[in-house]
């Protein structure tokens, strides 16, 4: 995805391995409920280094039925901007400071399923953080996509244009036309790098050394091979060779249908508004014509004229519904389609490989 770099100091995000693991763990533990947490770190010459993280507490909910899980998800999604959690965050950061952890909040993280994170909650949370600290980023970990292949961890910020518009809370056609704000520039994505400490690197090498290049001692019996468990190094991973097609397609279709649905709702709102507006305007025109005729008659009769702008107080034009929902939805659909493009590229390669292997030429 193209990274739109505006003239902001932060150019890329560097995430410590510890943070990656903690976020992935937390998101996997609460899956499919949304998980959110806070990230700390510091900004160094345009690189935002994220060095630690901690999850937000969620309120106790009895998870007995489906409805409650939904609630839990909503609560967790709203957690980053709740008052109790900013207290929690401050307390936690104060404690972390005592053990030499970078004590600056630099944003928050959230989990997502197949990229379905672009919604009002996300925008509100990020706005809440960006308002306080201009460099705050949102890390999005996509648990479902990570299980399909490479790790999906992305960093986003709201674009300055969008923040300005959001501040005013005006998303009417007129304001959008003026500011030239489209759905494509709501979010700015930053490239993410993973960073390890040297200590960690040496630990990883011990866990699973890469296969030896030179001659290895040959086993003396089959039992020898079976007894030694094979330690497959985590990189390069062979898991990405897994061929699973249907679940991804199904999920994507579901999500796309949802988006179409909300697009439709949005459309209906606007149509309703248009009809109302048209009706009001016909009334106004009728009123004006009548008043004009009346005035003409009065002028002929040398009477004083009636004011012609009285309609402003008599008729009220309906409020235009906000365009924000539609914009977010469009951005979301764009996200899905890019995602499915990537998936298609990947899966077709795998499928041709499988066919080439199983079907004789």
């Amino acid at each position: 995805m193209a990274d739109v770099l505006k003239d902001v100091p932060v150019k890329s995000v560097q995430v410590e391995a510890l943070v990656v693991m903690k976020i992935v763990r937390h998101c996997a533990a609460t899956f499919p409920t949304t998980a959110t947490g806070s990230i700390v770190g510091m900004d160094q010459e345009g690189v935002l280094e994220i060095t630690n993280t901690f999850p937000f507490p969620t309120v106790d909910v009895t998870t007995t039925d489906n409805h409650a899980t939904n609630d839990a998800s909503n609560l967790a999604a709203a957690a980053p901007r709740s008052k109790a959690n900013s207290l929690y965050q401050n307390e936690m950061i104060r404690h972390l400071k005592e053990v030499n952890v970078d004590a600056n909040n630099v944003g928050w993280y959230t989990s997502a399923t197949m990229g379905n994170f672009i919604n009002l909650n996300f925008i509100e949370n990020q706005y809440h953080y960006q308002k306080e600290n201009d460099k705050a980023v949102a890390l999005v970990h996509d648990a479902s996509r990570s299980s399909q292949g490479a790790l999906s961890l992305r960093a986003f910020r709201l674009s300055p244009n969008f923040v300005a518009a959001y501040k005013e809370g005006k998303f009417t056609t007129e304001s959008l036309t003026k500011s030239k704000l489209t759905y494509e520039d709501i979010l700015v994505e930053y490239p993410v790098k993973v960073h390890n400490t040297h200590l960690l690197t040496s630990y990883l090498y011990q866990l699973a050394p890469p296969p030896e290049e030179s001659e290895v001692p040959l086993p003396s019996s089959l039992a020898d091979i079976e007894r030694e468990p094979l330690r497959i190094p985590p990189y390069p991973s062979v898991d990405s060779l897994e061929l699973s097609i249907d679940p991804v397609l199904e999920k994507t279709c579901d999500l796309l249908l949802d988006s179409i649905e909300s697009h439709y709702t949005d459309l209906n709102n606007h149509q309703y508004y248009q009809r109302q507006l048209a009706r009001e305007q016909t009334k106004i025109t009728a009123w004006q014509a009548k008043r004009k005729a009346e005035n003409a008659a009065r002028a002929a009769a040398k009477q004083s004229l009636l004011p012609e702008d009285e309609y402003l107080t008599l008729f009220k034009l309906p409020q235009e519904p906000s365009r924000l929902e539609g914009m977010l939805n469009a951005r979301q659909v764009e996200q899905y389609s890019r995602q499915i493009d990537g998936f298609t590229a990947n899966i077709t390669a795998k499928m041709f490989a499988v066919r080439g292997n199983l079907v004789p030429e």
């Binding site: 560097q14 510890l18 990656v20 903690k22 992935v24 996997a28 533990a29 507490p57 969620t58 106790d60 909910v61 839990a72 404690h95 005592e98 053990v99 030499n100 990570s146 790790l151 056609t173 007129e174 036309t177 790098k193 993973v194 960073h195 390890n196 400490t197 200590l199 960690l200 690197t201 990883l204 040959l218 086993p219 003396s220 091979i225 468990p229 330690r231 985590p234 990189y235 390069p236 991973s237 062979v238 898991d239 060779l241 397609l249 796309l256 697009h263 606007h270 508004y273 507006l277 235009e320 539609g326 914009m327 469009a330 389609s337 499915i340 998936f343 298609t344 066919r355 199983l358 079907v359």
Partner: protein, 363 residues
């Protein structure tokens, strides 16, 4: 790295009589460690101020019978240590524990509630201070009693391998500064989060210890290259054996036979049919997704665009009317355009999708 294999001599720890009364068992204990916890400890070790060891608490879950614990996370505890005394910030430990538990406890059920499990330190040395701290973590008021407190040591000396060991302890003859450490086996859980571990390992394999995240397709290419490399190595070996350049190894031969016999016998036609079905599905969904995106994009653009022809005509027709009105009309025109395009998008998407729907069950 202690036990990935199941060979470990369990030594049961001696129990004091007053502990027995609380139902503590001396059954074997296995410690499972999440990689996250180790990463946390290493991070803490890197950030330490003093050249000596650092300590912290282990938090995680305990199985119902208490024979297995899983260390999920850790937090650092400030402490100072010199020749003749050790100081641990107990207040900090209590507060931090409360904070950590608040974040994790509510989402899970009671049996999987996280709790304090023990403590870690970054040196393998077990001294009388270790015993003091261990007794603090195992005590009824502040620790894990009646369950044993787990002590994890990890070596972070430069130049030496990073190794981990785990212990539990028994009190010795009422002396608070001594206890008997009993080694217990532990295992690193690494079957999950493979994607994250891969990204981290990739970062570790580069010069500057940092690497950008790769896209799925790059990861696939890398994995394929790796597998081809390994296969080449094996086939080189076998051809060398066949050419009698080197002696064959029966064990390897058997292993290879076993592996090859796992390859499924398939009917080429069935594979072909499956392949065609799936590839069509994939391409169809991809195509539809892009169509929907284009439609919605169009809708968005029309909704906010100024259709100039419309606006001007309206403006001229109702000349002399105030600006607000004209703006409204123009908005109307633009909106109408958007409506049309958008509705097409919505319906188009639905229509196109419908033929796919009945096919889904046959997949």
């Amino acid at each position: 790295m202690a036990v990935d294999t199941e060979q470990f001599a369990h030594i049961s720890r001696p129990l004091a009589p007053n502990v027995l009364a609380f139902g503590a068992s001396n059954a074997p204990l296995t410690v499972n460690v999440q990689p996250t916890a180790i990463f946390s400890i290493l991070d803490h070790a890197v950030r330490r101020e003093q050249p000596t060891r650092v300590i912290g608490a282990l938090v995680g879950v305990r199985s119902e019978d208490g024979t297995e614990v899983e260390v999920r996370s850790t937090f650092a505890i400030p402490h100072t240590e010199n020749e003749d005394q050790v100081e641990v910030d107990v207040e900090y430990q209590q507060k931090m524990l409360a904070l950590t538990l608040r974040a994790t406890s509510s989402s899970s059920t009671a049996s999987h509630r996280e709790q304090l499990l023990g403590w870690y330190t970054t040196s393998h040395e077990l001294n009388s201070f270790s015993a003091l701290i261990q007794n603090f973590f195992a005590s009824p008021e502040t620790g894990t009693f009646p369950h044993p407190a787990v002590h994890l040591t990890i070596n972070t000396e430069p130049g030496a391998p990073v190794t981990t060991k785990t212990y539990i302890s028994s009190p010795v003859a009422g002396a608070p500064e001594s206890c008997l450490f009993v080694s217990v086996p532990h295992r690193l859980l690494r079957n999950q989060d493979t994607a994250a571990l891969e990204a981290i390992a990739h970062a570790g394999s580069t010069e500057e210890n940092a690497a950008p995240l790769v896209t799925d397709i790059d990861a696939l290419a890398r994995a394929l290259e790796n597998v081809t490399g390994l296969l080449d190595r094996v086939s080189n070996y076998t051809s060398e054996v066949l050419d009698e350049e080197r002696d064959g190894n029966t064990a390897l031969g058997q292993h290879l036979m076993n592996a090859l016999s796992l390859a499924p016998k398939v009917d080429p036609e069935a594979v072909e049919a499956d392949f065609n079905n799936h590839i069509q599905d994939v391409l169809m969904v991809s195509y539809l997704a892009n169509t929907i995106r284009t439609q919605i994009d169009l809708a968005q653009r029309l909704a906010t665009s100024n259709i100039i022809g419309f606006g001007d005509k309206d403006g001229e027709k109702k000349d002399g009317e105030d600006g607000e009105k004209r703006g409204g009309d123009r908005r109307d025109g633009g909106g109408r355009g958007g409506k049309r395009g958008g509705r097409g998008g919505g319906r188009g998407g639905n229509q196109n999708r419908e033929p796919r729907e009945p096919r889904e069950p046959t997949e």
